[in-house]
């Protein structure tokens, strides 16, 4: 079943890219040979490209890797997220991974204890009444001493404003997933990863140069669907915010680490840290924007329209 699904995805990708090529050629008045020449001139990746390949791509016989696709898109001032998120079929295919489908109105979890329950997600802003308690739950799960030490009174909400917290609920208040992330500057991030600064300084984005990395501090779901859904939240943020150059994870959650490694995300560092007089591992990952968007799984997750996510305080300007 899994294998069949994948082949269909590939068909969709081929179709999307071939129509993109045809569109580009007509907009720029290029023949297939003209396009080949232009690509050859603009990038070394196309040194051995022949016109026949372009013809095959357009006819949907085969398709270049997402890496090459993104280079071609860039040459024409476009990007993969834009191209693929505009295609309904591709989005539908991607939504399968969070079981969000147009024919199923609400999302269902697939989990032993929550079998037939729907779940919904909520983005919780730092000045919301539930923020502190939801954040505490998230931190308890993550058990990362580099984040707010357990029991410490969480400082005023203004200082925590850069934190994005999204929680997934079943029924009224049963928490079934969450993700916690923020946009910071790479310099501050590396200092945080090397324990030169603490979490409050990391969140002090006003004092940093432009924020160019989205760092995920926790990401979890009780079922694979919710897990993927949480991931799609911050991947979508990265895809839509062009100022973000890197995606990073800094976590002590070995389940998350396992998932990232299965998705072929390279691990940056493993650092042993002390927690309640035991030694635990802190895992960090970092990848550039182009690495993220060329990763098929991440691209698919990023286009899932996060229509369920709505700020709970309407009218507060970002």
């Amino acid at each position: 079943m899994g294998h069949k699904k994948y082949s269909y995805q590939k068909t969709v990708i081929m179709r999307v890219f071939s129509s993109f090529l045809r569109k580009i050629r007509s907009e720029h008045n290029l023949s297939q040979e003209g396009l080949r020449a232009l690509l050859n001139e603009r990038s070394h990746s196309f040194d051995s490209l022949d016109t026949i390949s372009i013809s095959r791509w357009e006819r949907g016989i085969n398709t270049p890797s997402l890496t090459k696709q993104s280079e071609i898109a860039e040459i024409f001032d476009d990007d993969l997220f834009n191209i693929y998120s505009s295609d309904a079929d591709f989005v539908e295919e991607s939504a399968y991974f969070v079981q969000l489908s147009s024919c199923v109105k609400r999302d269902k979890t697939v989990h032993p204890y929550y079998k037939n329950e729907q779940y919904h997600t909520k983005s919780i802003l730092s000045d919301h009444a539930d923020f502190e308690s939801m954040l505490k739950l998230c931190l308890m799960y993550e058990a990362n001493p580099r984040l707010f030490p357990a029991g410490q009174v969480i400082a005023s909400s203004t200082l925590l404003k850069p934190l994005n917290l999204v929680s997934a609920f079943c029924g009224l208040k049963q928490l079934v997933g969450h993700c916690l992330f923020c946009k910071v500057n790479t310099k501050a991030l590396f200092e945080f990863m090397n324990s030169s600064i603490g979490i409050m300084e990391l969140l002090n984005v006003m004092n940093q140069e432009r924020a160019n990395v989205l760092v995920v501090l926790s990401s979890f779901g009780v079922s694979p669907q919710i897990d993927n859904h949480m991931m799609s939240v911050y991947l979508n943020q990265l895809a839509t915010d062009k100022a973000i150059e890197y995606l990073s994870f800094s976590t002590c959650d070995s389940k998350l680490k396992q998932k990232l490694m299965q998705m072929k995300i390279p691990m940056f560092k493993v650092k042993p840290i002390e927690y309640q007089s035991k030694i635990i591992q802190n895992y960090s990952f970092i990848m550039s924007r182009s690495e993220v968007m060329a990763n098929r799984n991440m691209l698919m997750l990023s286009v899932i329209p996060t229509r369920e996510i709505e700020p709970t305080n309407v009218g507060i300007a970002e």
Partner: protein, 400 residues
């Protein structure tokens, strides 16, 4: 649940058994005991590796836990046994053993100081086991062995990234190190994944040729890059191929103005091979610089330093990244820089992530800096833009 306890002190074994009985985990525990490494190994074999948790003391009379660790790593049928290493030793020793166990690809639950908390260890073991069951819906259809490395290389699905090397005194860009990535339809493939595959397929030389060709083509085409050195990694295996050495020299001769440095990894092996030394001589004669990479990782490097007329030493990132907190690493880096100065070769420190490390290196007299503090490896297509931004920022900074 089968638990094997290997500890030379009977009291400790009794305490662990008592803890298991008191534990909040509802399992039928079947405990096995061993007094030393040999008994432990005998027990593992006797139980045919059906062990759900192996609790191993590090320091025992007449032997130590490392014997068991080595035994596990040498047998495919035992390498997956969940392992908890315990000790009254200091934390650093424990951490070291933990790193070793992990690098041997053992199934390490963790390293724990005595007195151990069995509830915690059982919980961690459970977490470790459930990771294998955690099925992802978004599943990449291929596993490592499914990469057709021959095809990928034939199609030249190789992408070059470049990491800048900066002069520590005047902050100018000196050059770039070439870092290769591969890719397929699902995304990027990284060196620790593809290098073993390339090695297994015997494609080392072909791979290096692709890198050299692409790098030279890229450099030759961009006037902005002409003044920067190009550093390419080669292995001892590469150097023993005359074919490859000729290939490199031909490229250098065709582009006399490009400054090329070859970074020799596995310096230890190179120093011992006559054919490699011969190749190095030919390269040097043709104006190609030589850099000793991963410096400090093997002790004998110091002994045979006079054998290779190298231009540069690169200090490995594992020593550099924490010199601000690790006294030992600070000493190692300090003495390496001092040595380099005595031999009149330049020193490159790689793996610099923070400014505090950068500042210490400046004080120690390091010549060249490389690391995330300046930039992660940059894809070819973004390189010129990065260089322009850097140069303009530099000029702007100097004006002020």
């Amino acid at each position: 649940m089968n638990i094997l306890i290997v500890d030379d002190q009977q009291f400790v074994r009794e305490a662990i058994k008592a803890d298991l009985i008191e534990s909040t985990f509802e399992h039928d525990f079947q405990t096995f005991e061993a007094e030393d490494a040999n008994q432990g190994i005998e027990a593992i074999v006797a139980i045919e590796g059906n062990i759900d948790l192996l609790i191993l003391d590090l320091k025992m009379d007449h032997c130590d836990g490392m014997e068991v660790i080595n035994f596990l790593s040498e047998h495919a049928s035992y390498v997956d046994i969940p392992l908890a290493v315990i000790s009254s030793s200091d934390k650093r020793t424990l951490e070291l053993v933990g790193s070793i166990a992990r690098s041997l690809k053992l199934n390490l639950v963790g390293v724990f100081e005595k007195p151990i908390n069995m509830d915690f260890i059982l919980a961690e073991t459970g977490r470790l086991q459930s990771q294998d069951d955690h099925k992802m819906v978004v599943k990449s259809p291929e596993s490592i062995s499914d990469y057709d490395i021959n095809q990928l290389l034939a199609d030249e699905q190789v992408l070059l990234c470049f990491q800048p090397q900066v002069d520590m005194k005047n902050k100018n860009i000196i050059g770039f190190e070439v870092l290769a990535r591969m890719y397929d339809e699902n995304g990027y493939i990284y060196p620790d994944t593809f290098l073993p595959l390339i090695d297994k397929a015997g494609l080392n030389v072909d791979f290096t040729k692709v890198i050299v060709a692409k790098a030279f083509r890229f450099w030759a085409n961009e006037k902005t890059l002409a003044s920067y050195t190009l550093s390419i990694n080669v292995t001892a295996e590469d150097l023993s191929s005359d074919n490859l050495v000729d290939y490199i020299i031909r490229h250098k001769q065709a582009h006399a103005d490009i400054k090329l440095i070859l970074e020799l990894t596995e310096s230890q092996e190179i120093i011992n091979q006559a054919s490699a030394l011969n190749s190095i001589a030919r390269l040097i004669i043709n104006g190609i610089g030589i850099s000793l990479d991963d410096f400090g990782k093997s002790y004998s490097t110091y002994e045979r330093l006079d054998t290779i007329p190298f231009n540069e030493i690169k200090i490995d990132r594992s020593f550099v990244c924490d010199i601000d907190t690790n006294e030992q690493h600070h000493l190692i880096v300090e003495s390496t820089i001092a040595l380099a100065k005595k031999m009149s070769v330049s020193v490159v420190a790689e793996g610099i992530e923070t400014e505090s490390v950068l500042n210490i290196l400046a004080e120690l007299g390091c010549d060249i800096a490389q690391g995330y503090v300046y930039s992660p490896p940059i894809e070819g297509r973004y390189l010129i833009a990065w260089v322009n931004r850097y140069v303009h920022k530099d000029i702007a900074a100097n004006v002020h």
